[in-house]
């Protein structure tokens, strides 16, 4: 089955991005396809490559980048939400792409299920 995932909160402050990541890992482990992960609202902050949490904590941005690399995930950061919050090409972590909100609608159209993670 094809899943779309929408992440509406940034890393750490809320669990939303962690939950979305665990869901994505589990879906891939079960042989499902992730059609796209779309980052909107503060979710765009997940794509900031400068994040450097304490050594004994998870690095959420790097987790997403690694998952994208391993499974050829399409991870899209909303351009408008990103501009508003200062998430631009110069600080974009590997695996994330900046594109329009239409990519969220497209995910809704093409995926069999769209799962929302927010606050």
């Amino acid at each position: 089955m094809k899943f779309g995932i929408l992440v509406n909160e940034g890393p750490y402050q809320h669990q939303a991005s962690d939950s979305a990541y665990q869901f994505a890992v589990a879906a891939l482990a079960k042989g499902h396809e992730i059609y796209r992960v779309f980052f909107y609202n503060d979710g765009v902050n997940n794509a900031n490559k400068l994040t450097e949490p304490p050594q004994d904590d998870r690095n959420i941005t790097r987790q997403w980048s690694a998952l994208a690399a391993a499974h050829n995930l399409d991870m899209v950061v909303c351009v408008a939400a990103g501009l508003r919050r200062g998430i631009k090409a110069e600080i974009l972590a590997p695996g994330f792409n900046i594109s329009g909100l239409g990519q969220l609608i497209q995910a809704g159209i093409e995926a069999d299920r769209l799962v929302v993670f927010g606050d």
Binding site: R36, Y40, Q103, I105, I109, E110, L114, V116
Partner: protein
């Protein structure tokens, strides 16, 4: 990305998208950014409807004056939704009543539904986006 082929206005698949608004405006950005999703959904020729429930009904309150909080008043956009062929606006009756509001207090004409009717409508959707 197969999605990029099907551009605005030229999409062959049409799904029922429902955007659910349950939060008040200005205290958080969700109301404003949900509205942007609605407009794009309409531009992609999808069957878009909006629900306002709980504090989300406050998004439609007439008379918003935001000058003194330094934020943009985006409430006129709800009035422009018709221009984008977004005409399915639903408000939950119980949420309105709990807030002592009547349809006349709202910026735009809406269909007021009881919670049971609304829950049926929600079940009939293909994609539900909650903000």
């Amino acid at each position: 990305m197969s999605g990029t082929q099907a551009g605005e206005g030229g999409n062959s698949k049409v799904k029922r998208f429902m955007i659910v608004n349950r939060k008040a405006p200005y205290g958080t950005i969700y109301a404003l950014e949900a509205l942007e999703v609605v407009l794009i959904g309409a531009a992609f020729d999808q069957d878009v409807s909006l629900v306002f429930a709980d504090d989300g009904v406050y998004q439609l309150k007439k008379g918003q004056q935001t000058k003194d909080i330094g934020q943009k008043n985006f409430s006129p956009t709800y009035r422009a939704l018709g221009d984008y062929d977004v005409e399915k606006l639903y408000v939950e009756r119980e949420s309105l009543q709990a807030r002592g509001l009547a349809p006349e207090d709202l910026l735009v004409p809406v269909r007021v539904l009881g919670s049971t009717e609304l829950s049926v409508l929600m079940e009939e959707q293909d994609v539900v986006l909650s903000f």
